[in-house]
């Protein structure tokens, strides 16, 4: 029979009422709190019995204290005198239990209790939540800026969507937590003026909803990366999950524990933990990045590659499966062309990019041709208008480049492409460019195709039809 049990604690830091009731229920089931950890509370088995619990706060305590201060011990002595035994503590949070029937409470003056809780929260809950809120605002601002610059990329990247979702959830959680705390505090101050205690409460429905949403999003992101990601993305995700996150946890807690064992003062311990954790995490991230670069250089992370040699030199070709290749459009030998198919996918959009370029000595390519395209697959129809505008204005700042000065998208006939709308990238005089670069923006019911066909002849109707069939309506690999 196991002697200890761990449970996740979901009460707000100031919710003494909820914690006390929960601890009393656990004691009646035969479990007594013995340790408060960062994620879990640990209980030890006892004879099931009725115990009275008191959750109170010692504002001067810090998580970096090597051991309880003399003042804190003096407080414990006073509590022990009235039958209160310390079950566990963590920084300011102190949990006592009492075996006596109807014991004298630790706090008998509501005004003093509210003031003590508020002093403790001003040193813990409030600054930590406001700090997180500040980081959240900064990240949200960066995300909004990226969205304004390139909405398609932000919406197509499930990692950025997940990041955005995380910050929204964080805002809601912090907002409700702080709002609930200040509302409780105002009510508690008023109640204290009447000489009454005021019960605390945790907004657990909001917490539960946030947790479910966040877990779902994380599982989706992880599964999507593992299932559809390129080898490099899978490896990086696994490294972060299996090495970096546990490493970060161990670094912070390991240094904190070491400082406590060395009996360092709270100030030294705080500084050492911050500096040490930062340095260790920096080194760990550096090591992981170096490992990735090493693996990339060795070609361990490359997929779909073939190699050919010519005059003592080795040429590595990527041979990703492309939805539309030069072979579908032109006659010729494209075996020494590299083909890459990259992109991002999210539940809202997919943005995929295909390239097919010659790779090797010029001898093999007397008349090189190039094919580049970008397909935006819109999975949520409501976003189509936004994506359309974004694509039409994507090149607004290209005018700064002398090569494209005066160019703009001009309407073209969509029929040969099988599209609903078509535009060609042309100079102001409307003449087809002479740079062997025929660029078109094509709108299909559920996707947008941006294609550049770089060879001397304008696309033929057959080539246009092939583009419509393969990119405009076909399945994307």
């Amino acid at each position: 029979m196991r002697q200890t049990k761990r449970r996740a604690q979901t009460y707000s830091l100031y919710d003494r009422t909820g914690m006390e009731a929960s601890l009393a229920r656990m004691a009646e089931k035969g479990w007594l709190l013995e340790r408060i950890g960062p994620f879990f509370w640990t209980y030890r088995r006892i004879e099931p019995r009725r115990l009275t619990f008191s959750v109170c706060y010692f504002p001067k305590a810090s998580q970096f204290d090597p051991e309880p201060s003399e003042e804190q011990e003096a407080f414990y002595d006073l509590c022990a005198h009235t039958g209160w035994t310390l079950a566990a503590s963590s920084a300011q949070l102190q949990v006592f239990y009492n075996e006596r029937e109807d014991p004298v409470p630790i706090d008998t003056d509501p005004a003093e209790e509210v003031a003590t809780i508020h002093r403790a929260m001003k040193r813990s809950l409030i600054p930590s939540q406001l700090g997180l809120l500040a980081v959240g605002v900064l990240n949200a601002a960066l995300l909004v800026r990226r969205f304004l610059n390139d909405p398609i990329q932000v919406l197509a990247m499930s990692a950025s969507l997940l990041g955005g979702l995380c910050w929204i959830i964080l805002f809601v959680l912090i907002g409700t937590e702080l709002f609930a705390y200040f509302r409780w505090h105002a009510g508690a101050v008023r109640a204290a003026q009447r000489g009454e205690f005021y019960a605390t409460r945790t907004g657990r429905k909001v917490q539960a909803a946030a947790l479910v949403l966040l877990t779902g999003a994380l599982v989706y992101e992880l599964a999507s990366t593992l299932l559809y990601g390129k080898r490099i993305q899978v490896l990086w995700t696994l490294l972060l999950l299996l090495l970096y996150l546990p490493g970060a946890f161990l670094a912070v807690n390991g240094i904190k524990r070491l400082m406590k064992d060395l009996k360092a003062s709270a100030g030294v311990s705080r500084a050492a933990t911050l500096a040490g954790s930062f340095a260790l995490l920096f080194v760990l991230l550096g090591a992981l990045s170096a490992g990735m670069v090493f693996a990339l250089n060795r070609g361990w992370l490359e997929e779909n590659q073939t190699v050919y040699e010519y005059q003592g030199r080795t040429y590595t070709l990527t041979q990703d499966p492309l939805p539309l290749a030069l072979d579908d459009l032109l006659e010729g030998d494209f075996s020494r062309y590299t083909r890459t198919w990259r992109g991002e996918r999210s539940p809202l959009l997919e943005q995929r990019t295909g390239h097919q370029w010659p790779l090797g000595p010029r001898d093999f390519f007397p008349e090189p041709v190039y094919l580049d395209y970008d397909v935006v697959l819109v999975k949520v129809p409501a976003l189509y208008g936004l994506c359309r505008e974004a694509k039409l204005h994507e090149r607004d700042d290209w005018g700064d480049n002398p090569a494209w000065s005066g160019y703009a998208f001009a309407p073209a006939d969509p029929a040969p492409w099988g599209a609903e709308e078509a535009y060609q990238w042309l100079p102001g005089d409307g003449a087809d460019n002479e740079a062997d670069n025929h660029q078109f923006l094509l709108f299909y019911p559920d996707r947008i195709v941006d294609i550049s066909m770089q060879w001397d002849q304008p696309p033929t109707p057959a080539q246009m039809a092939a583009v419509g069939e393969k990119l405009g309506r076909g399945e994307l690999p």
Binding site: F75, L78, H81, I106, D107, T108, E112, Q193
Partner: protein, 107 residues
């Protein structure tokens, strides 16, 4: 409207200060207050700890002895004056009551 700190005393503050007319430590106070009031008033250990700290800061009591973690305190002249003011206030209240209801109302 919140009252200014220690302008008037709560019952618990009053009895803590009353106990400290002679030197005693925290645990003595925890025992003496219910004894003096025949169990009518009890002071919690957390409340006592906070109030002792605030009384020292306000100069109403002073620390007289430290034996390990056990600290003893004694009322200062300012503390005695505060207690006296509170006594007068309570007496004035009692007098007002007597005037309102007469002697038979106190039975």
């Amino acid at each position: 409207m919140p009252r200014a700190k220690f302008q008037t005393l709560t019952e618990q503050m009053f009895y803590i200060l009353l106990c400290l007319r002679e030197e005693c430590c925290g645990t003595d106070i925890l025992d003496r207050v219910p004894a003096v009031t025949l169990g009518r008033v009890s002071v919690g250990s957390g409340t006592l700890y906070n109030l002792l700290e605030q009384f020292v800061e306000a100069g109403m009591i002073r620390e007289t002895r430290v034996e390990g973690r056990r600290r003893s305190y004694l009322l200062t002249e300012f503390g005695r004056e505060t207690l006296r003011k509170e006594y007068r206030r309570i007496r004035a209240q009692a007098e007002d009551y007597r005037l309102a209801f007469g002697e038979e109302g106190t039975a």
